[in-house]
């Protein structure tokens, strides 16, 4: 598979603060990646370094096969960072034409890309008249102008209203379905969960996990159960060899599964022991729960 970006031991130090600490990961063509981490975990700093706006302290990164300079490579990349930055006194179309000049691509795609993000009818409006949602969509259009090999989005839905968030996500999904590689930085788990196939989780600049979204936690999920006799239920569950930790919350018993087991297995086992359930569900941790688990593990 073709490698688009490889980061190796990348580190950024701001005074006493280590914003990014020996971070390494690779981005392959065709996947949708998420960089997940709480606010201030070093996501934007990492992107800033590979995008040529933040100077790295040590380590290195390589775009594509590493044959060309970073700024040349960036012409094949589309990126937007937190806040959409354009010239306020220029119209949408003029701003995009300027980006075309910088990227060295012909400006005949301006209308096409404005169409994708639904801004074609506002192409002659000045940027300063746009709402935040429109600015963000214009930023996406601008990032798409060169038909990039990879699209980098840093908190693309930050500060938007629900409708704006929905629009942006639809656009991202559409782009992803065309086979464009995407790198999405976000502190919103469901955003990453909904869009990404792979995820890199960082916390305080340290990588906690990198790999497929499904592989974050190798757990087999957990049961949520309820019975009239809660104590017996807990006792029986604790006796079961394939059940790990059992906990009780609001009359609802949660049991972590340690070996593959179906809901009917546990139902049969409990019934044979003389307990009938009033509620049973098998669940996998949502990314959010897994994420919190991961980040808590390393909390000193």
């Amino acid at each position: 598979m073709k490698t688009i970006l490889s980061i190796n031991q990348l580190t950024k130090v701001y005074g006493p603060l280590k914003a990014v600490d020996n971070l390494s990961f690779t981005i392959e063509k065709g996947n949708v990646y998420g960089i997940l981490g709480p606010n201030g975990s070093g996501k934007s700093t990492t992107l800033g370094m590979v995008l040529n706006v933040v100077n790295k302290t040590s380590g290195d990164f390589k775009w594509f096969d590493g044959a060309e300079s970073t700024h040349e490579a960036l012409k094949k990349v589309g990126a937007i960072i937190e806040h959409p930055n354009f010239y306020p006194y220029m119209t949408a179309a003029q701003n995009l034409e300027l980006v075309c000049k910088i990227k060295g691509v012909p400006s005949n795609k301006v209308e096409e890309k404005l169409e994708i993000v639904g801004l074609l009818d506002r192409k002659s409006s000045k940027f300063k008249t746009f709402s935040l949602g429109m600015k963000q969509r214009l930023a996406i259009a601008s990032a798409l102008l060169n038909d990039p090999e990879i699209l980098i989005l840093d908190e693309p839905t930050n500060g938007l209203d629900p409708q704006g968030i929905h629009q942006i996500r639809e656009i991202i999904r559409k782009i992803a379905s065309d086979g464009t590689t995407i790198l999405l930085a976000s502190h919103l788990l469901d955003e990453v969960e909904k869009v990404c196939s792979h995820v890199v989780i960082i916390r305080k600049g340290v990588k906690l996990y990198s790999g497929p979204v499904d592989g974050i936690n190798a757990s087999h999920g957990f049961f949520e159960l309820e019975a009239e006799n809660t104590e017996l239920l807990q006792q029986l569950l604790n006796e079961h060899p394939s059940i790990g930790k059992v906990s009780l919350k609001n009359n609802l018993v949660t049991a972590i599964i340690e070996e593959p087991m179906s809901a009917s297995d546990i139902n049969r086992y409990l019934f044979e022991k003389g307990l009938s359930l009033s509620y049973l569900i098998k669940r996998k941790e949502s990314l959010e729960e897994q994420f919190l688990q991961l980040t808590n593990q390393t909390t000193a």
């Binding site: 990349v77 220029m90 300027l98």
Partner: protein, 278 residues
């Protein structure tokens, strides 16, 4: 190179305030011609400025480049803001992400500055030529094209000054503060000169020798004030018994000093941008 100029041209073209300032600047240069129409009566003689020889070749090259150079402040505002706006709009960051290198960014600004200087110089040359041809007492070819080094000095002076503005725009990041800083710098140079001249090296010309290396002083040294060269002023001074002896000519080392500053300012701008995290 053309690509960089093109990028910068697009940025300026749609900015209304820049357009107005640039236009004002060039219109004001042509207004030098208006000086010709100033006349006022002294007693019963009608005193016409144009008759005082200010539009005589080759003096006009000196006079006009001095007057035109005072207008450079208009372009200075444009240049400082075209630099610092990239910071306040955060478009500098976006430009770099879009694939402009930091070197190209500085180069695109400097090329624009050069174009401003070149156009100003050509413009000044044409305006002066026309004015001179209409008012000058001497129209021999060899006289018209003597003392043209003032035009060259004007060009070097403008480029140096604009490079200084570029650097301040990057250093301070806010256009108003950058212009304020320019003013403060000028005051500092003036005070420094005063201290050197009237305290430390009193009664000698060592102070002048030192301050000619300062950026603003070196630029203003290139084209010195031309008024005391006027016949009327000279004869008045003679009558008072205090004839000036002033060196109005341009020396190669003065040009060199300004060129060195220009190179330094562009280099400092680049070094500063390279070092900064955006």
């Amino acid at each position: 190179m053309l690509r960089l100029l093109n990028i910068e041209f697009l940025k300026l073209r749609y900015s209304r305030s820049s357009k107005i300032l640039i236009l004002t600047y060039f219109i004001l240069i042509t207004f030098i011609a208006l000086i010709a129409s100033i006349e006022f009566p002294i007693g019963n003689i009608n005193f016409r400025i144009a008759d005082q020889g200010i539009f005589n070749f080759p003096f006009i090259w000196h006079f006009n480049s001095y007057i035109a150079a005072t207008l450079k402040l208009f372009l200075a505002i444009v240049i400082v803001s075209m630099m610092s706006n990239e910071y306040s709009n955060r478009t500098l960051k976006q430009n770099l992400i879009d694939g402009l290198s930091k070197k190209e960014f500085i180069l695109s600004k400097f090329i624009t500055v050069m174009v401003f200087s070149i156009v100003s110089t050509i413009f000044l040359f044409v305006v002066s030529l026309i004015l001179g041809l209409s008012f000058s007492d001497y129209n021999e070819f060899s006289i018209i094209f003597s003392d043209l080094e003032y035009i060259l000095a004007y060009f070097v002076k403008l480029t140096g000054f604009f490079a200084f503005c570029l650097f301040l725009g990057i250093l301070v990041k806010r256009s108003a503060f950058a212009l304020g800083f320019l003013f403060i710098w000028w005051i500092v140079e003036t005070i420094l000169y005063a201290i050197l001249k009237w305290r430390i090296f009193k009664g000698t010309d060592i102070a002048d020798k030192i301050v000619q290396f300062l950026p603003l002083e070196s630029m203003s040294n290139l084209v010195k004030e031309p008024f005391s060269r006027l016949n009327a002023v000279q004869s008045a001074a003679n009558q008072l018994g205090s004839a000036f002896e002033k060196d109005y000519s341009i020396h190669w080392y003065q040009i060199l000093i300004v060129i060195v500053w220009t190179v330094l300012f562009v280099y400092f701008s680049y070094a500063l941008l390279k070092k900064r995290d955006l």
